[in-house]
């Protein structure tokens, strides 16, 4: 005897407590198993690329914060780097070190939110609040530095906008001393939890070929087995002078599953603390902003520059026609590619596994929609 079942069309709608922004999925399921998944994006489309053609280069800097508000410094960094390369602006050494320091601090807190919301989506609320508690320290530090806790608007062409206050480096060191044992505590709480491991292991495996084909970047790519990190392989700023390891997924996880993506982010936080310590110890003493009085008008040309943001590679394709505003600015984000692979990987998963997949890819809606 065989059962005849019908497919159900479910709408995992834009109103959803799954904490990754306003996303919508239209699912075709048979009971619990998904047969087809269609992501529907565009709820956070603000037209940043069109806005870039209307405002001048420095005026667009606050808009870059809003591309990925959890890692705003990284977005600032990519844009500043692109314009500086196109216009040939030099950046002093102190500014470079400050930039890398805040960018890596931002990477730590972005990954904290990522793993925290991952645990929250799995049902464990406490790791999320603990991650937020750690994040508060860094928010306070960055507020000392530039006045804002989330969207910083800190970098300028030729440097950074404010110098570090006195004692800032010491406070950063205190935070790192506080944070490293907390990460072990966090791992004992949730990362090594048997139920968590059962939920994540073997779920939604993304093979190396799929990851490269669909353009996955960042921790997602590293977790699928591709040894690729822009900071080491296409270095920019002062990364050649810093010693750090490119994170490989640990051996107790299956390559390309959700658990390895989770662990890659945890290990990246450890690497970032090492980088921040090096920046703190090597901080040079010259100027923080190579400021020029002239209106910025880069010579005509185009450039594609990419940096390693917490969610992957953030690419800025900038075309200038010699005016004071960009002719075309295209922003290429890591979450965009990650979202495009959901449609391929989702069939065969259960509805609960879809939540796991989305959380493990660390999607964030403003990056997808811009």
């Amino acid at each position: 005897m065989s059962f005849v079942t019908e497919e159900m069309i479910l709408n995992m709608g834009p109103h959803h407590p799954s904490t990754h922004g306003v996303l919508r999925f239209i699912l075709r399921t048979d009971g619990e198993v998904i047969y087809g998944c269609r992501p529907d994006v565009g709820f956070l489309h603000r037209g940043l690329e069109k806005i870039a053609e209307k405002v001048s280069y420095p005026q667009f800097m606050p808009y870059t914060d809003r591309i990925d508000y959890l890692a705003a410094m990284n977005c600032n960094f990519g844009y500043a780097l692109g314009v500086e390369r196109l216009a040939g602006i030099e950046v002093p050494a102190r500014a470079e070190y400050i930039r890398v320091l805040v960018v890596e601090l931002n990477r730590i807190i972005s990954h904290l939110i990522s793993v925290g919301t991952f645990a929250l989506d799995m049902g464990a609320v406490t790791p999320f609040t603990h991650a937020l508690r750690e994040r508060e320290w860094v928010n306070d530090l960055l507020e000392e530095l530039c006045g804002a806790r989330l969207t910083y608007n800190y970098m300028r062409f030729g440097g950074v906008s404010f110098d570090m206050p006195t004692g800032f480096l010491e406070r950063v060191g205190n935070f790192l001393d506080y944070f490293e044992p907390r990460l072990d505590q966090f791992n004992r709480l949730i990362s090594n939890n048997k139920i968590f491991k059962e939920r994540l292991s073997g779920v939604a495996v993304i093979s190396r070929e799929d990851a490269l084909d669909y353009g996955l970047v960042g921790p997602n790519l590293r977790a699928s087995g591709v040894d690729w990190d822009l900071r080491r392989d296409e270095p920019y700023s002062i990364y050649p002078e810093l010693k750090f390891e490119v994170v490989k997924p640990p051996s107790h996880t299956e390559l390309g599953d959700c658990y390895s993506r989770y662990w890659v982010r945890i290990l990246e936080m450890v690497e970032s603390t090492r980088i921040v310590r090096q920046c703190v110890s090597k901080m040079p003493n010259d100027s923080y902003w190579n400021r020029s009085k002239k209106k910025l008008k880069p010579p005509p040309g185009e450039i594609y520059v990419r940096t390693e943001a917490p969610r992957g590679e953030l690419g800025f394709y900038l075309i200038s026609r010699g005016e004071d505003r960009p002719y075309r600015l295209k922003i290429r984000t890591g979450s965009f590619s990650a979202m495009s692979i959901v449609e391929k990987i989702a069939p065969g998963l259960m509805v609960s596994d879809l939540v796991t997949l989305i959380a493990s890819l660390d999607l964030i809606a403003p990056e997808i929609d811009r």
Binding site: G123, A124, T126, V351, S352
Partner: protein, 446 residues
């Protein structure tokens, strides 16, 4: 309750006037009301306790605005829920939509018939008490499926279906674990099971045999699955289904689901206490005789007027302090001159509670005067009623504390993992416990 009816019928001519059956009906109503009040109070207390525990686990404080230490939070929440708009979706099945929460409430409230608060504080000591508890626990499933279907919402339906599968599956190992206890005690009556654990901590069924420890573990885990708590709360998984079967419920209908779930925690903890942890028996205090001659002398000198008057006299200064503190507080608020130093202003809520206690003592003193010949002695009241009640309550609270804490520590299991835990691990383990306990009893307790 039968004894109570007979006693009251004998004592009071009022009851003799209305007849035995009517008297029984009145007493039944009164007992039911008392127990339901307790049921509601437990539900409210647990919502508050859970939020406080959640706060402290998440390195923040829980609610602390609404009363002293936030204790009145559940009253405020209750009022809020009553005042909310009652929305029924247009395409929903109205009759079932309205009826479903009450079925869930019924499943939980019916269990209170056989839950003892003391050796004589039980509504009815059925001689199939434990069996009755297992049976009434199944009412909840019907209510949940009804709620899921009647909401006309695919997510609610998914939640309802998952919940039905989960609860029905986990009833089997639940019953197996309880059967182990019934086998050991030899009776299904609740008071019988508790009395079979008399004589101290070593006689608790938890320590009876290794199979009983395993049975406790199975019972504890499966009962968490029965009440839809993490790690088994797939039916109401927040991040996936946005409250599952009770998505469409608002206002007091949702409040009913809510209170039923939290009181269910108490029910399940109390069954664990009854079956494995000795019930209302205080370890070391088998009966009042254990106190010895001094205790007896102290007990005989106690009587209602003396105790209540002592309470009142002790509370008088507290009443005065409380009144002064209230005035100072209100003066502070209204910016007039304060009468007292501010230390007492900060303690005003504690002093207010003490003052209320004193007022209650006065009221009890006044009210007990006409009935003073018929009430049990203070001694009996304390050791036959109060101490067992507090013992039972604190043991149940310890178990409930663990259940509440698990929610904030563990992630949830996926639906197929949940079902495989039940059918592949819990049920075989349950059978092993049952058969093993049978052999153990044959070998060691002839």
């Amino acid at each position: 309750m039968d004894n109570l009816v007979n006693d009251l019928y004998r004592e009071f001519t009022l009851f003799q006037m209305i007849g035995h059956d009517a008297a029984a009906f009145v007493v039944m109503l009164a007992c039911g009301l008392a127990v339901l009040t307790f049921f509601g109070f437990m539900g409210g207390l647990f919502t508050f306790l859970e939020r406080k525990l959640a706060g402290w686990t998440n390195s923040r404080r829980g609610p602390n605005r609404v009363g002293p230490y936030g204790l009145a939070q559940f009253a405020a929440d209750g009022v809020k829920l009553i005042l909310k708009e009652d929305i029924i979706p247009a395409e929903a099945d109205r009759t079932f939509f309205r009826f479903a929460p009450y079925l869930v409430l019924l499943g939980t409230a019916l269990s209170f018939v056989v839950i003892p608060f003391g050796p004589r504080l039980i509504i009815s000591d059925l001689n199939v008490g434990i069996f009755y508890l297992l049976a009434t626990g199944s009412f909840t499933v019907v209510g949940l499926i009804m709620a899921g279907w009647a909401s006309n919402n695919k997510w609610a339906l998914l939640g309802g279906m998952r919940s039905a599968a989960q609860i029905v599956s986990y009833e089997i190992p639940n019953a197996l674990a309880i059967l182990v206890v019934v086998l050991t005690a030899g009776t299904m009556s609740v008071q019988g099971i508790i009395r079979a654990q008399a004589g101290g901590v070593q006689h608790w069924f938890l320590f009876n045999s290794p199979f009983c420890i395993l049975a406790f573990f199975i019972y504890f885990t499966t009962s968490i699955a029965e009440i839809n708590r993490i790690p088994f709360d797939i039916p109401e998984a927040e991040s996936e289904l946005v409250a599952g079967y009770n998505i469409e419920y608002s206002g007091m209908r949702f409040g009913v689901f809510f209170v039923a779930e939290f009181s269910n925690i108490y029910v399940v903890s109390s069954i664990a206490v009854i079956c494995f942890l000795g019930g209302w028996q205080l370890p070391g205090l088998a009966d009042a005789e254990a106190l010895g001659p001094i205790g007896r002398k102290v007990g005989e000198s106690l009587s209602y007027p003396s105790v209540l008057s002592a309470l009142m006299i002790a509370m008088l200064p507290c009443i005065w302090f409380a009144w002064k503190a209230m005035r100072a507080f209100s003066a502070d608020v209204l910016r007039k001159s304060a009468l007292l130093p501010s230390r007492l202003v900060r303690m005003n809520s504690e002093l207010l509670l003490l003052g209320l206690l004193a007022a209650f003592a006065t009221l009890a003193l006044l009210l007990h005067w006409p009935l003073r010949s018929r009430l049990p002695s203070i001694y009996e009241l304390v050791f036959q009623y109060l101490v067992p009640f507090l013992t039972f309550f604190s043991k149940a609270m310890v178990i409930a504390f663990v259940i509440l804490l698990w929610r904030w520590t563990l992630p949830r299991l996926r639906v197929d993992q949940l079902m495989s835990v039940c059918w592949k691990y819990m049920i075989p383990l349950g059978f092993v416990c049952l058969v093993g306990q049978g052999f153990w009893l044959c070998l060691f307790n002839p």
